[in-house]
């Protein structure tokens, strides 16, 4: 299996504009979320990217792509029929070939050279199967993600064989179905927002969307993966890195802070944060004295 294309979904309601948010990258250069995501994808060795966007959003996105534009194709989701539908459109555009899928409202800050995308693609190509990036997630926030239950693969740290996938479970359900040996109590493998999809998974998702069963429910990918896990080998990989949901309150700020602290501006950033905190404390002390 060879993965050449990435599919980024950025058509969600309220998501418009998020990929365009400005960022300072590790080298201290001005960029934006979308550009950072594409850089990660291309540095992983992928050739092209398909970007699924809302109708009319293409010009805004094109404007920030720069030289990356020639490797990016746009697909418009004409009706807001949900995440699975958007993904299905992207998959169709890459000819139902194996692909790497990233959600547009998340940013990944990798602790490894080459980023999360490269690690996932390498495992998928090596194992010839679908691989989902996951992250150990505390139970109080699993209701925001697809969650994977599985067993560690012997001798392969961070790699799991998937048994079940449930979208946004409650911990009540997660405890019964999604426990993973070796994880801390109350922690589960939540989706990281990056998936290397093998051809059969791509096809299954497209079929599921075509029959309309889960197009509007937003459960498409998790359901398809859950069904597939019963009959074929699906893997989950926990890449050393962090994921930031940019649609969260302070999500973008947290992502920027994490990138900055890993990069050349670390000292400046620390000094800025310290100054803010110090001034606040001084003011409070002065108020108390008064």
């Amino acid at each position: 299996m060879k993965i050449r294309t990435a599919v980024l979904t950025a058509a969600g309601p309220g998501q418009r504009g998020l990929p365009l948010e400005p960022l300072i990258d590790r080298e201290g250069r001005k960029t934006c979320v979308l550009a950072a995501q594409l850089d990660e994808v291309f540095s992983a060795g992928l050739e092209t990217a398909v970007l699924v966007v809302e109708p009319g959003a293409q010009p805004e996105y094109s404007a920030v792509l720069g030289r990356r534009a020639e490797r990016v194709r746009f697909v418009e989701q004409s009706e807001p029929l949900g995440y699975a539908h958007a993904l299905s459109l992207g998959l169709e555009a890459c000819g139902d070939e194996p692909c790497l899928h990233l959600v547009g409202d998340h940013l990944f800050v990798a602790d490894v050279l080459g980023g999360c995308a490269r690690a996932i693609v390498e495992i998928a190509e090596q194992e010839g199967t679908t691989v989902c990036a996951v992250r150990s997630t505390r139970e109080h926030s699993i209701s925001e993600f697809g969650v994977v239950g599985g067993d560690p693969v012997a001798g392969r740290p961070g790699l799991f064989e998937v048994r079940r996938v449930i979208e946004k479970p409650t911990p009540t359900l997660a405890e019964r179905e999604l426990l993973v040996p070796g994880l801390r109590a109350g922690h589960y493998l939540g989706f990281f927002g990056v998936h290397a999809l093998e051809r059969s998974t791509v096809r299954a998702l497209r079929e599921a969307v075509a029959v309309g069963a889960s197009a509007s429910s937003g459960l498409g990918l998790s359901k398809v993966l859950d069904d597939a896990a019963g009959s074929e080998r699906i893997l989950a990989f926990e890449p050393p890195g962090r994921r930031f949901d940019l649609s969260d309150r302070y999500g973008l700020f947290a992502a920027q802070l994490a990138i900055g602290l890993e990069g050349v501006d670390r000292e400046i950033l620390l000094e800025t944060v310290s100054r803010v905190l110090l001034e606040r404390e001084r003011r409070r002390a002065a108020e108390e004295q008064r």
């Binding site: 505390r138 139970e139 109080h140 926030s141 699993i142 209701s143 409650t170 911990p171 009540t172 359900l173 997660a174 405890e175 019964r176 426990l179 109590a185 109350g186």
Partner: protein
């Protein structure tokens, strides 16, 4: 088989460790059969070593239970542990504080130091060891269940959620969608209850299912109910409503208990005992809405609500149980809990479907949460009790624990059983119809606490007690027959099988599971329906509450009405001696084929029960309109519309009006008289009462003042202070006693004027008339037994012996009715009643006394949950006393529960006052001695040897004492100022003083009439002089201390529900006569079986297992025995 000292050679240890079923399941009695006392003591040592080293939990529990049985029953029965001695205070305190393991070690050390030459512990130490081992066994068992409950998958996360920020649940979006008027929808869960047709010998107790899953099997039907004749027909008796509200509070309302509360802090939710909403709180907690991990977090409820429901919003939970009284044995509280859980889990998306029935996996997690909720709320339930959430008829079976289960390698079975629809039924509709038409479901009106029964069953199971174990196997065979009868639609076979379960296994395991009331009902139903009466089924832990009669439908359409008539008749017949919570009634029922189900109600459909509005609308109307939330204003408008449209049967307006303008409640009566009339007719001394009230308020009397000063040295009696009478007694005493009896020199006095609060469980009952136990094939009352003992001695000697029964306002009419109804039972003795006139009016206790009662007396610490529950209830009691008014008259209950007899001191002196003693002396001029005993001293009789001894000694009175056991509390023989006397338990300077006294007072006294009269300054000639007698009694009474005591009474409300009220009363006690120096007394050490008093029904099982039934029968000649 040989016996050695090591675990390897011990018979008992081998049985526990054996992998061979037939060896492992041998009964305790069989295993120890033929062993001598020394060999038994070796077995004890081997068991203890095995217990200390073994790591297998159930083996440890079984060993501990064997040790308990050894010390409690086996060794004492062989006379091996009956030496007098004291209770080691340090060891006993460890038992009281639930440190059982340490207590065992302490007791063993003391026992080793103080054992007699043969190495046998005293009665006090043996009973202490028995209590410690028993406590240890039950503690381990509950730890095992608790661990499983907490670790069941799906439950564990709730214990990790320690802050609202960690809260993972979110309300279902549909519940936030308001209608056009801004009203939130209402989610309604309707839940049937479960009816157990098989019983299967209490195999649904968690411990049993987890240790013996293959023996845990019941057939359980989900049923809907309605009162007999209700035209709307049966329906699920539980409705729970949930909705979002616009105030950031958690609002709980129990419609049937007419209670509501707004919880504003998380700690309020964990205060389970504060009001009648404990079950609702436990449900919300177990559902994870306020997870148990938040217990102790003193946070505003707003923080949780904001996270789960949304900013500024709250949640309202409303429960309604339709016409189903407490004690129905249909697992109403567990079903209600399951219903609360189901609706809350739907609302928080833990259950997928917001509406409709649950799927199997969801039912299982709701059932697991119900177990958790019961543990959190401190209530109990069986493992089948959530059966109502499943549909129809299903077989529930224990499952072996397998690898991967949290129970694996700890228990043999899983905590949760498996549920499966009954297989092999061709025509389910016909089966359903057969049960619905063939079974008449009744509530007999009793609502006993079945907790002690469940402990007894567990204990007998662990011991594999001979009869009980055989009965358990028999019960499993009958369960197969029941299943077969159902499959083949054979009503007769079904009824015959359930009847056999009751008459066989149930009664063999727990004889007191039946009672005279149930037996009488069965007789009367058989008489009424003849061949159409097919059989009986007991529901739940005991009979007397929920029960069923199988009747051939050919008996006629009116068969249920006729059963109701039988219930009413028998209820009237036995009510003096039996504690009823309510009048008995018949129910219509159907088998529910859906199980628990929910509907989302919007708009006009989103209407709550009328009784909800009756409770809340008056509160809303008291507030300004602008203070009401938008939804409350809308709801008022809607109510207006509904009331204008309402059909008359809905009764919204009348119920609102009766709440707003309540009618005066009719005054309660006892024996036809109101409280005021009773006080007036009984010569209540209002002036003395006011004086005592003032003394109480000002602290001159009170619980702490009951005690002798701590500076007083209270020492244990010396062996020379008592006369040993437990072995064979000289024939000279016997002949002297027989002669005296033949010449009419002695009479029996049974003190039966008490209010029997403990026996009736806080409800007034005539204890003497309670047919408490079967003797010679029939349930017989204490009174019948006492007379039978006197009759036997009289008939041996060919004389009729006088037997006086003292009565009081509480018992007199009941006793008289009983004699009138069946005079033949009382023939063959010269029975005379001695009614006591005096009466006291109970008071609301002072806060000082309540605190003393709760905190200053040594008492058993409960397990963690139950202890918190008790704290919570006690705080609520303090609030109640403060609100009602300390030391005010207690009048808010049935008249008989507001009054108290003045104490048993007065019962004999009263015989002087009411002429009974004078008449007796006139009828029996030789009468010299009275044998005075409490009504609950079942083993006392006019044994000639004892009378002979008393006469021989020539003392004023001989009091009977027994060697102390740890649970004996209430009074003991002590040395004070160099003189032996009895000290009442209330008067002990410290709690532990009593533990250091070796001889426990049985309350039985042989009294010389003339010397007693002399003590009062009277002689026989004065007995007709009423004024002189009154003066004399007052004179002595003033020298006797008055105690303030706290008794707990129940206040009934709703359908069999009750509140427990501790009340204060004043009493003078008979044993204090021994404090008068001129009253010369002896103390006789008597055998336990003679001295044992039955103070509470929970003692019955142990009393029977000690072999007392046979002993009593040997003393009795009943009137129907010719």
């Amino acid at each position: 088989m040989t016996v050695g000292s090591g675990p390897e050679t011990s018979r008992l240890v081998r049985a526990i460790r054996s992998t061979d079923r037939s060896e492992r399941d041998r009964s305790f009695e069989d295993l120890i059969d033929g062993l001598s006392v020394d060999e038994l003591l070796q077995e004890v040592e081997a068991l203890e070593r095995f217990r200390a080293e073994c790591e297998e939990p159930y083996a440890v529990v079984r060993a501990a239970m064997f040790l308990n049985a050894m010390y409690r029953f086996t060794l004492p029965r062989l006379g091996a542990c009956d030496g007098p001695g004291t209770v080691d205070a340090d060891s006993w305190r460890l038992v009281l504080s639930r440190r059982f393991e340490e207590a065992v070690q302490y007791f063993r050390r003391v026992a080793a130091e103080s054992a007699d030459e043969a190495g046998r512990p005293t009665a006090a130490l043996a009973s202490g060891l028995a209590a410690a081992y028993r406590g240890l066994a039950f503690q381990r068992l509950s730890e095992l269940v608790r661990k499983s409950v907490r670790s069941v998958r799906g439950n564990a996360w709730m214990f990790r959620t320690g802050h609202p920020f960690d809260h993972p649940l979110r309300i279902h979006k549909a519940l936030l969608e308001t209608d056009e008027r801004g009203a939130f929808p209402v989610l309604r869960e309707s839940t049937p209850v479960r009816l157990d047709l098989t019983h299967s010998a209490w195999s649904d107790i968690f411990f049993l299912g987890m240790d013996y899953p293959e023996g845990a099997r019941v057939l359980n039907a989900s049923v809907g109910l309605c009162p007999l004749g209700d035209e709307s027909g049966p329906k699920p008796p539980i409705d729970v409503y949930l909705r979002v509200i616009e105030e950031p509070v958690l609002r709980l309302t129990s419609v049937d208990l007419q209670t509501t509360a707004d919880l504003e802090r998380c700690t309020d939710l964990f205060d389970f005992g504060r009001d009648h909403l404990g079950l609702l709180k436990a449900g919300l907690c177990a559902a994870g809405f306020v997870p148990p991990g938040l217990e102790g977090a003193d946070l505003p409820m707003r923080a949780v609500l904001e996270r789960v429901v949304g900013p500024g919003l709250g949640l309202e939970l409303i429960t309604e149980v339709h016409e189903l009284p407490k004690g129905s044995r249909l697992a109403v509280s567990t079903s209600l809990l399951a219903s609360i859980l189901s609706v809350t889990m739907r609302a928080t998306r833990q259950v997928v479907g917001l509406e409709g029935a649950l799927v199997e996996a969801e039912r299982r997690i709701v059932a697991a949460r119900a177990i958790l909720g019961e543990w959190l709320g401190g209530s109990g339930g069986g493992w089948q009790d959530s059966g109502g959430i499943w549909p129809g008829l299903k077989l529930i079976e224990g499952e072996p624990a397998e690898e991967g289960d949290v129970e694996f390698e700890t228990s043999r079975g899983r905590l949760l059983p498996k549920h499966a629809p009954l297989q092999g039924v061709d025509d389910r509709v016909a089966l359903r119809r057969m049960i619905e038409e063939g079974l008449v479901l009744v509530h007999g009106g009793m609502a006993q606490d079945v907790g002690p029964v469940l402990e007894v069953v567990t204990e007998k199971y662990l011991l594999r007690s001979g009869d009980a174990w055989t009965a358990r196997q028999e019960s499993l065979r009958i369960t197969d027959e029941i299943l077969e009868a159902l499959r083949s639609l054979d009503l007769r076979a079904l009824a015959a099988a359930t009847t056999r379960t009751f008459d066989g296994p149930i009664r063999a395991i727990v004889p007191q599971a039946t009672n005279s009331y149930t037996e009488r009902l069965r007789e009367c139903v058989d008489e009424e329906f003849g061949e159409h009466s097919l059989g009986f089924v007991m529901l739940g832990g005991m009979s007397g509450g929920g029960m069923g009669f199988f009747l051939d439908p050919a008996a006629g359409e009116d068969r249920r009405l006729r059963v109701q008539a039988v219930l009413d008749r028998v209820h009237r017949e036995v009510q003096d001696g039996v504690s009823f919570a309510m009048a008995p009634r018949v129910f219509d029922f159907n088998i529910d084929e859906v199980g628990t189900r929910a509907r989302l109600l919007r708009g006009d459909e989103a209407r709550l029960p009328n009784r909800y509005y009756a409770l809340h609308v008056p509160r809303w109307l008291q507030r300004e309109r602008q203070e009401l939330s938008r939804s409350q204003r809308n709801e008022l408008e809607r109510l207006g519309e509904w009331s204008r449209l309402d059909s008359s049967e809905d009764e919204l307006v009348p119920s609102l009006l009766s709440r707003l303008l309540p009618e005066a409640e009719p005054e309660q009566r006892f024996e036809g008289r109101t409280l005021d009339e009773l006080l007036q007719d009984s010569g209540f001394d209002r002036r003395a009462h006011e004086r005592q009230r003032l003394d109480l308020i000002e602290g001159r009397i009170g619980l702490s003042r009951n005690r002798l000063p701590t500076s007083m040295v209270v020492r244990d009696a010396e062996p020379s202070d008592v006369l040993e009478t437990r072995g064979s007694m000289p024939s000279v005493w016997r002949s002297r006693g027989r002669t005296a009896l033949s010449q009419g020199e002695a009479a029996v006095v049974t003190l039966a004027g008490g209010a029997a609060s403990r026996w009736g469980g806080g409800v007034q009952v005539v204890k003497a008339l309670d047919p408490f136990c079967r003797f010679r094939g029939r349930h017989r009352s204490l009174l019948e037994v006492h007379l039978a003992k006197t009759r036997q001695i009289g008939s041996e000697l060919g004389v009729e012996i006088p037997h006086v029964v003292t009565t009081s306002l509480f018992t007199d009419a009941g006793v008289r009715r009983s004699i009138e109804r069946a005079p033949e039972l009382y023939e063959g003795v010269d029975l005379r009643l001695s009614p006591t006139r005096g009466i006291g009016l109970r008071l609301v206790p002072t806060l000082r006394d309540l605190r003393f009662h709760f905190h200053e007396t040594e008492r058993q610490t409960l397990d963690e949950r139950a202890e918190r529950m008790r704290d919570s209830v006690e705080q609520a009691t303090l609030d109640w006393a403060s609100e009602v008014g300390e030391a005010t008259d207690y009048t808010g209950n049935l008249p008989e529960l507001c009054l108290n007899p003045p104490g048993h001191f007065f019962e004999v002196p009263n015989m002087m006052r009411n002429g009974v003693l004078a008449d007796l002396c006139a009828s029996y001029p030789n009468l010299r001695t009275l044998c005075v005993h409490h009504v609950d001293s079942v083993g006392v009789n006019l044994q000639p040897e004892r009378l002979g001894l008393h006469l021989e000694r020539g003392v004023a009175a001989s009091f009977e004492v027994v060697p102390r056991r740890v649970h004996d509390a209430g009074g003991a023989l002590a040395r004070i100022d160099g003189r032996a006397r009895l000290v009442e338990g209330l008067a002990m300077p410290r709690d532990d003083t009593e533990w250091g006294l070796s001889y426990y007072n049985t309350g039985t006294t042989w009294v010389d009439i003339d010397r007693l009269l002399a003590l009062f300054g009277l002689d026989r000639g004065d007995l007709r002089d009423r004024e002189r007698v009154d003066e004399a009694i007052d004179g002595v009474a003033q020298r006797i201390p008055t105690y303030v005591t706290i008794k707990t009474v129940k206040r009934r409300f709703g359908l069999g529900q009750d509140d427990a009220h501790p009340v204060a009363q004043f009493e003078k006690l008979w044993g204090d006569l021994t404090s008068l120096p001129e009253f010369e007394t002896d103390y006789h050490l008597v055998p336990r079986e003679r001295g044992e008093q039955l103070k509470s029904p929970a003692q019955l099982d142990g009393w029977l297992r000690e072999g007392n039934q046979g002993f009593i029968e040997s003393l009795c000649r009943f009137s129907d025995e010719g």
